[in-house]
């Protein structure tokens, strides 16, 4: 088992390097001088020169990349062009808020998707299934910010149940969590339903049924457990999905998280910050995938052998 884990981690290293290369290379897509872009329009020449020197932008691309990488590895991700505060500080102060929001949204998403998916699969082609599937399809098709604004108008302004935006009490969590959790649940529910349906067709389930076991027992004991395996894999993409949702939703709900920081940074062309956030999130995704793989190996020992 340990050997498997170590091997997975070693395999992740080139992946992280590749990601960093791509993220760094993005800056060079710009039509103009990347240093000018990093420094901002109003920056005096001395600021531009100092960035050029400090980050080696006068050197060839690969040298620049390694200069940057070695700084990043030592925790120096540069400074925001706009506030001139260290990027690491800006990120650190936002991270807890994004984590809290994502935690609740994930919980809510799981709480909606699993029961609904299982029921839909069990009562296939009844009105329950149709209603659940309709819910999922609508949820997947709605632009997130649209849903967010509708929820604010209905629940914050008309009904006055929750605050419109900001943080503070538990009530502040309700609307952003609902928006984020709902749209994620939609996709996940379909996944649960499909993979359960596939398992239900397998021979061992048929056998179990033939043995005369009650439907509920068949469903929970035999089918669900096996259906979990593909679902766990899907959970690997969960983090990536959440991140995308947060970018838009945090801005609308004035939530002080990473997504909003990224939005502001993009609008202000604060590219050291953009670079750092994307890099960080991508590395987190790698870590999440790694975790899922290990989990997968725990559930299904066959994986370790391949």
């Amino acid at each position: 088992m340990l050997k498997y884990v170590v091997r997975r981690i070693l395999l992740a290293i080139p992946l992280v390097l590749g990601i960093s290369l791509l993220v760094f290379g993005l800056m060079h897509l710009a039509p103009g001088d990347p240093v000018r872009m990093l420094a901002g329009r109003e920056a005096p020449q001395e600021v531009i020169d100092s960035i050029r020197r400090e980050w080696g932008f006068d050197k060839p691309f690969l040298v620049q990349y390694f200069t940057w990488l070695s700084k990043v590895l030592r925790g120096d991700m540069g400074r925001s062009v706009i506030s001139q505060l260290p990027v690491s500080y800006l990120i650190k102060s936002r991270l807890p808020y994004t984590l809290k929001l994502n935690f609740w949204a994930t919980l809510l998403g799981l709480a909606i998707a699993f029961p609904l998916g299982v029921i839909a699969a069990a009562k296939r082609q009844t009105w329950v299934d149709y209603a659940a599937s309709a819910f999922a399809l609508v949820g997947m098709s709605m632009p997130g910010f649209w849903l967010a604004l509708v929820l604010i108008i209905v629940f914050a302004v008309q009904l006055n149940w929750f605050p419109t935006s900001g943080t503070g009490t538990w009530a502040h969590y309700v609307l952003p969590t609902a928006t984020l959790g709902f749209s994620w649940a939609a996709g996940l529910m379909r996944m649960v339903r499909t993979s359960l349906l596939e398992v239900l067709k397998e021979d061992y389930v048929r056998t179990a049924r033939a043995k005369g076991l009650r439907e509920k027992v068949v469903l929970v004991k035999h089918a669900l457990r096996n259906a979990l395996i593909p679902i766990v894999t899907v959970l690997g993409t969960w983090l990536a999905y959440m991140v995308v949702g947060t970018v838009v939703i945090e801005t609308i709900f004035a939530w002080p998280g990473l997504g909003r920081l990224l939005t502001t940074a993009l609008l202000q062309r604060d590219f050291f910050l953009v670079q750092a956030i994307i890099l960080m999130i991508s590395v987190a995704v790698v870590a999440a995938n790694l975790l899922v793989d290990v989990l997968y190996a725990v559930i299904d020992p066959r994986v370790r052998l391949s």
Binding site: P14, L15, G18, I19, L22, V23, L26, M27, L29, A30, P31, M37, L137, V138, M140, S141, M142, P143, G144, F145, W146, L149, I153, V157, L197, E198, K201, A240, Y241, V243, V244, V247, V248, T251, L262, T263, L266, L267, R269, F271, V274, I277, I278, I281, S282, V285, V286, N289
Partner: protein, 278 residues
């Protein structure tokens, strides 16, 4: 093929999806004839006015006809979806065939690059790239297209690898068939169904992605309109003039829903394994 179509049309929801899509495509193609007004005509004195006889879906902040703008916007939204899908499909087919055909280090390299693209959340990659290059119709669709090729590449590579082992390919080789011929004759038809399903679902996600880009100001730019850009413009008036954001929002939902339904239907129709149980 007729059996596939038959199966597709037995699938009621997919039929509905296909019809909705046909209508939307029709609206986009014939926008100049269908639009009641010139989409660029401004009426500042009538800004944000609700639906009326002359302006069936009301007017935007500049008093332009929302229905007309949406009809023209359908062109942008749908063509970003289709073209980005086509670009990803093209890049995916090339990368996948290279990887599958050559194998070895080429395969390793391509699949590693694909993994990098799959790990970085696509939305982040796209907004950053669009912000850097500058948003426009072309940059949006090219960047989205270039960022979502990995799924196609994986399907194609998998298919090639499995087909390579099959005796008929060896036989074809032995008879001197060129590799390209084998690819065209045997590989592509075999993975056509998953590819078609993927493109359909991909178009849906691109339309949503474009609306999120518009929300951040990095989508299709004026004077061109997309549903996403009209919707995002309307959000400032969500309370005072809800019609501006409501109609494009519904259009996006309908289109995405239709693509999803069609995609589901196609998957079922093209994949007999699944249908069996229905």
């Amino acid at each position: 093929m007729p059996s596939v179509l038959q199966r597709l049309f037995q699938h009621k929801l997919a039929t509905v999806g296909a019809i909705v899509l046909l209508l939307l495509v029709f609206a986009a193609l014939f926008a100049p004839w269908l639009a009641p007004n010139n989409p660029e005509d401004v009426h500042p004195e009538a800004s944000l006015r609700g639906p009326s006889r002359q302006f069936p879906l009301g007017q935007d902040p500049s008093g332009r006809c929302i229905l007309s703008r949406m009809l023209y916007g359908a062109r942008a939204s749908l063509s970003v979806g289709f073209l980005a899908g086509v670009i990803s499909l093209g890049v995916g087919i090339i990368m996948g065939s290279l990887a599958g055909y050559f194998g070895g280090w080429v395969d390793l390299l391509i699949m590693r690059v694909a993994e990098v693209f799959m790990t970085i959340p696509q939305f982040l990659l796209v907004i950053a790239a669009v912000a850097i290059v500058g948003p426009s119709f072309t940059s949006v669709l090219v960047i989205i297209g270039l960022s979502s090729w990995t799924g196609y590449a994986r399907v194609l590579r998998g298919e090639i690898l499995s087909i390579k082992q099959k005796p008929f390919v060896e036989a074809a080789r032995a008879y001197g068939s060129s590799s390209w011929r084998i690819l065209l004759r045997h590989v592509l038809p075999n993975c056509l169904s998953p590819l078609i399903v993927m493109v359909t679902l991909n178009v849906a996600s691109v339309i949503l992605l474009e609306s999120s880009l518009s929300f951040l100001g990095f989508g299709i730019q004026e004077p061109q309109a997309s549903w996403g850009s009209i919707l995002s413009q309307g959000r400032a008036y969500f309370q005072s003039a809800p019609h501006v954001a409501t109609f494009p929002g519904i259009a996006i939902m309908l289109a995405v829903l239709a693509f999803n339904l069609l995609g589901d239907g196609l998957r079922d129709a093209l994949d007999p394994k699944l249908v069996e149980g229905e």
